[in-house]
C-alpha cells in the first residue's frame, strides 16, 4: 500500500490544493470535460458531460457516489487501485465533489473486497486527521464528508440506480429512468455515480492539465490511459496501465508476453464478461471505446479474458450466462426468466442434447433481452451474441456430434 507520506511526497494532494486555491468548481469541471475522460466503469460515458447534467440550483444536498462494486467477471482494476493507492481515489473524489458542490460522498465497495475496505477506511481517517477531509478543507471553505459502504454483495448493486437503492437500505432493484440520477438520485437528490478508476484519473488531469493527460493515449482519438486486466491462457497477467488505444495484439504480445507455451490465441473477451468476443481478426483493433464498438464489441471495463485453441466457446458462454442468470435481481421477466432459459439451452447443447433449432431460440433471446428493464440482461447477451456471430460452426459441431468436441474421452 502507498502510505500517506509516500503519496504526498510523489505529488499527492497537489491537485486538490491547486484546485481549492486556484480553480473554481466550474474550472475543474471544464478541465475534466477538456481531458476527454470517459467513464471507466464500463459504459464509457464522458465524465465531464455527466457532471454537467447536475442542476446546481435545486434546494437540498447533492451527492457523489464512487462505484467500487467491481463484480464484472474478469475485472480487477478497481481492486488494484483501492488496495494499493486509496489516497489517489480520495483525492479524485474530493476534486469531483469540489467541482460538483457535493459535501457528502459515499464509496460503495464490493462485499468481498475486505482489504480494499480496510485500506480505504484507514485512508479516510488519515485524510481527515490531516485536514484533507472534513470541515473547511485547507481553509478553502469547502467541506466534505466521505463514508464507506460495503455492499451486501450482488452483481446488480453495481448498476447505479440499484446501488442507490442498496445505499438507502432498499432492495437493490434498478430504478425507472428517467428521472436520471443527475436530477433525482440518492434520497431523491441530484447524484453523480463515478467508477473508482474514473475518479482516480482526476488528480492527474488537474495537476498536469487536460491536454497533457489527453496526450497520454496511443491514438489521437483516444484520451489518457486505461487500466487493463488481462487474464486467461496468457504467459503473464496482471493489472496494467496502458495508453488508451493500444492494440489488442500489442497488449497480448507486449506486457503479457504472448500466450502460454503450447497455447495459441483463439478468442478473448475484450472488456469484461458482458462484451462480445474478439478473435484473431480483431488483433489490430485499438483498445479504445469507439474502435472496439466499431469492431462489434465494447471496451467495457478493460477486463481481457484470453482463450486458447483448446477452449470450448459454448462452455465459456454457458459459464458466463450461469453467472448472469444467478445475479439477475429478479425484477423484470426477460432477465429473470430469459437468462435461465438461455442457460438451459446452452447446457443441453454442451451436453450433446442440442438441436439445430436451439440456435434460433438463442438468436431470439439476443434480440428480446435487449428490452429488459436495465442493462444486465442486454450485457449478458454480449458473449452470446458473439458466440452466435463468430462461432456458429462450433455450436453446430456440438449439435451434430451430440457431444462437446473439446471434451477428451
Amino acid at each position: 500500500v502507498v502510505t500517506f507520506d509516500e503519496y504526498c511526497s510523489e505529488g499527492g494532494f497537489r491537485a486538490l490544493r491547486k484546485a481549492l486555491s486556484e480553480m473554481s468548481p466550474l474550472d475543474v469541471q471544464q478541465a475534466v470535460i477538456d481531458s476527454g475522460l470517459r467513464g471507466r466503469g464500463g459504459a464509457g460515458f464522458p465524465t465531464g458531460k455527466k457532471w454537467s447534467f447536475v442542476p446546481r440550483d435545486l434546494p437540498g444536498p447533492r451527492y457523489l457516489i464512487c462505484n467500487g462494486d467491481e463484480m464484472e467477471p474478469g475485472t480487477y482494476k478497481d481492486r488494484f487501485l483501492l488496495e494499493h493507492n486509496p489516497y489517489l481515489l480520495i483525492e479524485g473524489l474530493a476534486l469531483a465533489c469540489y467541482a460538483l458542490g457535493v459535501e457528502h460522498a459515499y464509496i460503495f465497495i464490493r462485499r468481498g473486497y475486505e482489504q480494499a475496505c480496510e485500506n480505504i477506511r484507514q485512508g479516510i481517517a488519515q485524510a481527515r486527521r490531516t485536514g484533507l477531509l472534513g470541515e473547511n478543507i485547507s481553509g478553502s471553505g469547502f467541506s466534505l464528508e466521505l463514508d464507506l459502504h460495503q455492499s451486501a454483495g450482488r452483481y446488480i448493486c453495481g448498476e447505479e440506480t440499484a446501488l442507490m437503492n442498496a445505499l438507502e437500505g432498499k432492495r437493490a432493484n434498478p430504478r425507472v429512468k428517467p428521472p436520471f440520477p443527475a436530477i433525482k438520485g440518492l434520497w431523491g437528490q441530484p447524484t453523480v455515480v463515478n467508477n473508482v478508476e474514473t475518479l482516480s484519473n482526476i488528480p492527474a488531469i488537474i495537476a498536469n492539465g487536460p491536454a497533457w493527460w489527453k496526450g497520454l493515449a496511443a491514438t489521437p482519438e483516444a484520451a489518457g490511459t486505461k487500466l487493463f486486466c488481462p487474464s486467461g491462457h496468457l504467459a503473464l497477467s496482471g493489472c496494467l496501465e496502458l495508453p488508451l488505444g493500444t492494440t489488442l495484439g500489442a497488449i497480448i504480445d507486449g506486457p503479457c508476453g504472448g500466450m502460454r507455451p503450447g497455447s495459441s490465441f483463439k478468442a478473448c473477451i475484450p472488456g469484461g464478461a458482458s462484451t462480445p468476443f474478439f478473435t484473431k481478426q480483431h488483433w489490430d483493433v485499438p483498445m479504445d471505446f469507439d474502435p472496439v464498438a466499431k469492431a462489434g464489441s465494447r471496451l467495457g471495463t478493460g477486463g481481457i479474458i484470453v482463450f486458447d485453441q483448446e477452449t470450448c466457446m459454448v462452455g465459456v458462454t454457458l459459464n458466463l450466462i450461469r453467472f448472469y442468470a444467478r445475479e439477475s435481481c429478479g425484477w423484470c421477466t426477460p432477465c429473470r426468466e430469459g437468462l435461465p432459459f438461455v442457460r438451459q439451452i446452452l447446457e443441453r447443447i454442451e451436453q450433446g442434447r442440442g438441436e439445430h433449432g436451439d440456435i434460433e431460440i438463442l438468436r431470439e433471446h439476443v434480440q428480446l433481452l435487449s428490452y429488459a428493464f436495465c442493462a444486465l440482461a442486454p450485457g449478458a447477451m454480449g458473449p452470446l451474441e458473439g458466440l452466435l456471430r463468430l462461432f456458429e460452426d462450433e455450436i453446430r459441431e456440438h449439435i451434430t456430434a451430440k457431444r462437446c468436441p473439446f471434451k477428451k474421452s
Partner: protein, 626 residues
Amino acid sequence: MIKLLIDNIPVEVPEGTNVLEAARSVGIIIPHFCWHPALGRAGACRACAVKMLEGPVKGLQMSCMLPVQEGMVVSTSDKEALAMRKGVIEWLMINHPHDCPVCDEGGECQLQDFTIAGGHSIRRYDGKKRTYRNQYLGERIEHEMNRCIQCYRCVRFYQEYAGSSDFGVMGRAAMVYFGRQCDGPLESPFSGNLVDICPTGVFTDKSARFRARYWDYDMAPSLCPHCSLGCNTIPAARYRELLKVIARRNDSVNGWFICDRGRFSNSPVNAPDRPRQALLDGTPVSLSQALDALAERLRTFLDLNGPDSLGIVGSPRMSLEGNLLAARLRELTGSGTLCYFGDAVREERTMAALHLLDSRLRASQEDVRKADLVAILGCDLLEEGPMMALAVRQAWRNGARVFRIDGNGGQSDLYPSAELSSLADAPFSEAKNPVVICGSLHKGSDEIPNMPAGAKLAFVLEGPNDLGCALLARERGAVSLPTALESGRIKGLICFEADIPADMIAGLQLLAAADWKSTAAVRAAGIVLPSTAWIEMDGTLINNEGRAQRFKKVMNPGLPIRGLDPAKHPPRVHRHDAPGGDVLPAWALMAGLIERLGGERIDQPLSGNWEALRGLNAEGGGEIVL
C-alpha cells in the same frame, strides 16, 4: 389534451396518461401484468410492448412506461411487438405450473387471458420447473407460490399502497419469493386485496376455495354494508351462499380496493339459522299469513290504544326504500312516532353531521386521497372506516401532512401524523386542498368553526345508511327510540332491521320484527317477518358523503345448499321457491302491510322527493343527494 394515433385510431387523452391507458380508452387492451391503475407503472413484466412508428419516440417501447406525447404513432400489433409479447409469455409460462384445472383463479385469470392473447402455445423449454414452499397466511387467503409470475403487484400494494411490512419480496433472480418471514396470518387490514390484484392464482380466497368457477357465480354490482363509506363491491355467490366479495371500482369512493372487514364478513348472510321463517307467536307460518296476522293485530291494537301508542322503527342499516316506507307506514297508521336510531347519541351526532355537511364542502374518499393536508378530528379511522385510513395514506404518500386533533387513538402506521390541540393550529393557509375528517363519535361542532371555508369536510359515520336516515328523519320528523320511549305512551313497536337493546322492548303489548339478522327484537317479537339480506335484493344506500348508491340483487334468498345437513334436509317435494326462500325485502314487507291496512299498492318504494333516484344506475358511481 394530447393527440396520438394508436393502430390507426385517433386518440385524445390528458397529459400524463401512458400509452397503455390511452390504448385502453379506445378499447385496445394491451397485455400487461405489473401495471395496475392504482399502483402505477413498474416496468417489470415487459409484456405491454408496442412499436412506436412515428413521433418523438421510436422503436419498441413498454407502453406502461411511456407517457403520451403529441404526434405519436403507435402500433400494438407490429411484428416486433408481437414477438416480444410472445417471448414474455413464454418466459412466464416456463415455470408456471399450468394447474388451471385445480386453480381457483381459472376462468378469471389474467395470465390465462394474456397467454391466449400473446399467442404462446407450444412449450420449448424442457427443463425442470422451479417450485416453492407455500405459506400459511391465515384463515382468509390461500398461498400458492408456484403459480407466481413475479409481477410485484402484491408487494407494491401491500407495502407501498397499504403500508404494512409483514409481507414482502425475498430472494433474487429466478427464485424471488413473495411471502412472509415465516408462516402466519397477514397483518394488514387490507390483505384481501392481494386476491383481487394478483393476475394469477397465487392468492385466492379460502372461503371460495374449490367451490365455483367464475361463470358459476351469481354476481351483481353491490355495496359494502359494514360501515358508512359505501365501498363498491361485487359479491359472488353460488347455491344461495355468498362465497366471496370482490372490490368494485368507484373512483370517487373506494377506488380499486376494499378492506378486509368488507371482504371477509360473509358468514351472517350464509348462517343457516338466520331468520328465514315467518313466526306467529313462535309457530312457523307463511310470510303472507304472518303479514295478515300483523295487520289484524295492528288494527286491534290501534283501536284499543290509539295511534299515539305505536312506534314504527326503521334502521340505518336498512335501505333507503325501507326507511322511506317506514315513514309511509307511520303516516297510514297515524302513529305518533317514527324512529330511525335506536341510540339517542348516535342520532344526535348524525343529525349534527348532516347539518354541518349541509353548510360545508363535502369530501369524497377521492378528495381525501388527493388532499395535501388532512386533519383528523378524534377518530380511529382504521376502526370506524378502514378505507378512509387507506385514503389518508394515499394523501400522505403524495406529500400531504396529516394532523390529529382530540385524538383518542387514531395514530396509525399507515400515515405518520402530528398531534394538535385545536383545529385552529393546523396550517390550512399553506394547503391548497385541505380536508377535515370527523369521526362518528365526535360532534365536531366545537372544532368545525375553526375550519376555513375552502376546506372540505368528511364525516365517518357508523352504518351504511346513517345519512339517509338522518335526511329522512329531518324530512319526516323522526325521533330516536329512547326519546320516543321516554314519554311512556309507546305500547307497541314494529321494528324493521333495527338494532335495539333488549331492555327497550320489554313489556310491550305488540312487538313485530322484520330482519335477516337474529336481533333482540326478533327474539322477543310475537310476529317475526324474515327479510332479505342486501345481496338478495335491489336497494339504495346513502353513504357518509351523501352519495346515494344503488345495489343490485346478487342471488335468490334461501337456505344455502351447504347449510342443509342430512337431518335438516327438506322433504323432496315439488315447490316453486327455495327452502328458506319465503322472505321479502323489508320495504316489500312494509308495502304488503300498507296494502293490508287499506293503503295503496306500492310497486316503487321511492316516491316524493326521492322519485328521482328510481333510475339510479348501480354502475354509474352514485349521485350526491345532500
